[in-house]
Assembly symmetry: C2
Amino acid sequence: MVTLRDVARQAGVSPKTVSRVVNDDPAVSANTRDAVMAIVRAMNYVPDEAARMMRTATSTVVGLMTDVVATTPYSVDIVRGAQQELKGEGKTLLIANTEGDPVLEREYWRMFRAHKVSGVVYATMYHRPLDLRTPDFQGPIVLANCYSGNADRPSIVPDDERGGYHQAQHLLQLGHRRIGILTLLPAIRATVLRGAGYRKAFAEAGVSYDPAMEVPAFQGSVANERLVAYDVARDMLGGRERPTAIICGNDKVALQVYAAAASLGLSIPGDLSVMGYDDLTVIAETLRPSLTTVRLPYYEIGELAVQTLTGMPDRAPAATFEPVLVDCPLITRESCRPI
Amino acid sequence: MVTLRDVARQAGVSPKTVSRVVNDDPAVSANTRDAVMAIVRAMNYVPDEAARMMRTATSTVVGLMTDVVATTPYSVDIVRGAQQELKGEGKTLLIANTEGDPVLEREYWRMFRAHKVSGVVYATMYHRPLDLRTPDFQGPIVLANCYSGNADRPSIVPDDERGGYHQAQHLLQLGHRRIGILTLLPAIRATVLRGAGYRKAFAEAGVSYDPAMEVPAFQGSVANERLVAYDVARDMLGGRERPTAIICGNDKVALQVYAAAASLGLSIPGDLSVMGYDDLTVIAETLRPSLTTVRLPYYEIGELAVQTLTGMPDRAPAATFEPVLVDCPLITRESCRPI
DNA sequence: CTGAAAGCGCTAACAG
DNA sequence: CTGTTAGCGCTTTCAG
């Protein structure tokens, strides 16, 4: 293994000078720098992170703790966004997937401590409140897709209310008035927030909002839910006063609405406009007609979480943090048309 | 920060004894061990990985290098499988996502070296041959979902030939004889392997194989492809001698076949059986009827890759490695029925 | 079974 | 602008 000393010896300078060069310390003459860098390259010297970490008591690694987010098609983009942001800083991601196991989670916090990670992004699969106790870890933490109930940590979450607003507003603007809504489980925070968005859009359009048109597309409980959108949609589309458009809680719901419409001989978007949520591209871009939907901005959430982390002091002063809301933009494709 | 010395002082033993205890060295009396562990817990001591790494010149971190695999709904399971396997060893994953950029990849190899990772799993999105040169990294490497053209590294890949065999064999057994096949791009290795599997199943069933029934569901080139399954399926289903079953190159293709069938008034599985590949659950379990498909065993590939890594010496002797094939099992759901 | 001494590769602190 | 000295926290080596 080639060390700093080896390079120093070759270059005929002191180890500290080599250290300065590889750390971009400006207090080195251009000549010295060039000479040293030439040797660094020639010997293919790579600084030992362990030694560096030990000396500086901090590392270039950022931890990512997730329940199942890192491993779910819905939200891997958080990882991509975080990586993208880290790349510029020469840092990297140590990932820990708890699968919801608290014992394992505790172990991973210790591991993060052992590795002296410079910060942790804590990401959850569902947008939800979270009271985080980390006796084993003292560094900065940013929440992604969740937020602390008592506002004691920075957090980045999707703006579900505005997302719901986008969905309803777009359909209302296309002239739809009878709009069915197939929601996620009522217990999920996103459902409540989006509901507020729907109401706001209807009010602005001067259209009365009929709560009877709002039906859950899932049964069961959170994390143990069953998708019943197909049956619900058939009921809704089979009745009198059939809606001309359906807003879905996510793209999977939309997929089943497509199936329900097909089974009733209804064409999309001819007889029925359908709007998704999430922008799961494997579904939204593959469906025929392709699905107009609202995008969950996971990539941006990952980026922002790391940015926020980078800007935080090592030991945060007691402070209050409002969740940062990231817009869920409307992605217009082929499944909605004017009426 | 509480260090080994702090614990030693408290426990009234030497630092080395504490080191022995936390490293499960058997050469410590039970009494001493218990006493030390009590202090370790009381002080919430966690050994510093940096110091440990520096001394032992090896770390408990395993690198995962991917093109886009870690970030794609298709194959995040490789990450989950790897984590699962690492968990038992008290190790963790440092992930690096190159997004196909060779400059970035080189940087990540140096980073892995700097972090002294004990090994690297190199995973690709497509099952393909790969000639890996890593001048910057000397440790053990296992390929996942790809394999070295000259067989100089261990690799774990899906058994696509047998997967194709499963697809065809199941439909033949259900009595189907006119079977359409909507393939991936011909240039992809999986396409060739599965083709061999189809032929084998047909031969075994004594049914003649009609190459004209095999049509790509994609246009363009690898990594820049366009899914045209909807149109291809409509052509195939609109002609005379319509197939009674369609084998798809992946679940997205199947999704478009569903749409094509619906547009022609054909019901699944009544008029047409459809078989997918990948077992992308967001699609396969959500479709109505749910999709019978063949599962890409990414989780197992991740597990096996780490297992293989763990069993490898630090510097592999020059040797020849045949790719380890992992079966792609048939997942029976509702979209195929006997004829 | 336990301990003392030395040093891994780097950078902080201080000189010059 | 450059060098010297010391030491981060741990484990290796060797001695009891």
